[in-house]
Symmetry: C2
Subunit: 268 residues, 2 copies
């Protein structure tokens, strides 16, 4: 009578298993009991309509959110009103990590299309991390991964040109879509040019111009929000600064590539 664990697991996992999160939310090698506990954590769901905020800077931090479906941006605002988009989120991402620091969110999280999230109440989250070592480590790792990602963005903002930023941005999106089972070469940008610009530290006109240039150079085909990548290698070459007037080839040899930040993958 049923000593095959995988069958039991299949019935228990209803809430999480047919969800895009499974690789992200479920640490590997969980037992039956642990999965039960986990599913009790993510009990509630919530819908956010396009343009609405899941939370805003200053709101009390009460939960993390796992994105089931949809697309969002997070953004911080300076005291004089400048907005900076700090990341774009899609299905499978966990958002709200910045709220832990001061028990208050420090950024706005805005849906760029109709979105559905799973609520992970902070209180229960804490219980779980305390009781399940695996879960605790997974959560710590999640936080650390976000730090590493932001390091990559700082590299991009601090030392790359407009073309390099956009090439890296497109390749990163492509990769993330691919990881989720969508086409890596054809997708729709859910954000506006201004939002891309804010994220990349550029003005919307520059974003538009660079995309047009890419299109003219047959690297991509752009039609408003629709993007098709025609030349992955070409884009990668741009990210690495392999554009004619480039002399840091010498440097490239000094440092093994393995330790370098990969602008293609670490931007999220």
């Amino acid at each position: 009578m049923m000593n095959n664990p995988s069958i039991n697991m299949a019935t228990l996992r209803v809430a999480c298993s047919n969800c895009n999160l499974r690789e992200l939310c479920l640490p590997l090698g969980l037992g039956l009991k642990e999965i039960e506990r986990l599913e009790e954590l993510v009990s509630t769901r919530k819908r956010v309509k396009r343009g609405d905020a899941l939370y805003r800077a200053g709101d009390k931090f009460e939960a993390l959110y796992a994105i089931r479906l949809g697309f969002l941006k997070s953004a911080v605002m300076s005291s004089d009103g400048r907005e900076q988009v700090t990341s774009f989120h899609m299905s499978g991402d966990i958002v709200g990590l910045d709220g832990l620091a001061g028990m208050v969110y420090s950024s706005d999280l805005i849906a760029l299309e109709d979105t559905e999230v799973c609520i992970l109440p902070y209180e229960r989250m804490q219980e779980l991390t305390q009781e399940m070592h695996t879960m605790n480590m997974h959560f710590q790792k999640l936080l650390s991964m976000e730090i590493v990602r932001q390091n990559g963005v700082m590299l991009l903002l601090g030392s790359m040109h407009a073309e390099e930023r956009l090439a890296a941005f497109i390749l990163n999106l492509s990769q993330r879509f691919e990881m989720r089972g969508y086409s890596r070469s054809e997708f729709v940008l859910r954000m506006t040019r201004a939002e891309i610009g804010s994220y990349l530290g550029l003005k919307l006109e520059t974003v538009s111009r660079v995309l047009s240039r890419f299109s003219h150079d047959n690297l991509i085909i752009v039609n408003q929000k629709h993007v098709q990548i025609m030349d992955f290698e070409g884009l990668r070459a741009i990210v690495s600064g392999q554009t004619f007037n480039n002399q840091n080839i010498a440097l490239k040899a000094v440092k093994p590539a393995a330790t370098g930040i990969d602008a293609l993958s670490d931007l999220d």
Copy 2:
């Protein structure tokens, strides 16, 4: 027979209590036993000479480090050799958080002056977070605070001008020195102009020029690495974009200041 806990604590805290870390490393309201455990964690210390690396990108992640004394930078490098300084660290800071993500450090940590750190071995750290709820929460908070800090840096890199970046940078350093009991108006820059530039996304010449301009405008006095702040308000005005040709005053009224990222404090 000593039923005054504060006296007992004084004797037990030898290792940590006369150390700059105490506010950062010790969660508030620890019991005697907990402090004992904590001190057992930070058993070993290590010295790093100026110019040497505490760790490098790619090194196996085995510990976090609490800086007892000294000054360091962390930096990531792109595959084509561009370096980006991602933060400057001083006494009381905990470094190495990026290593958790992949159990490998993803950045270099280089001492800018002779430095002494306490080693927090990852293994023992994990035990401690598992057994002590307070410690676990404190650690999670630490990670989240780093995320919030980086959001501030992204805002700076993505939407501020050279003068604003440098004003914010100086004020932030000032604040951090003050928190550690040093003068907030007079200090020594331990890093080079090139390193400041890398951190702020500027070239070293631009850093030098802007500092000279500040000096000429009587905001600061600069003598090589020695900086004295003469006009805090003036610097703050620059950070907020209050320089003559500024029209985002309208925006300022829209959003309550409390929720905005404070460029002065959140850069670390």
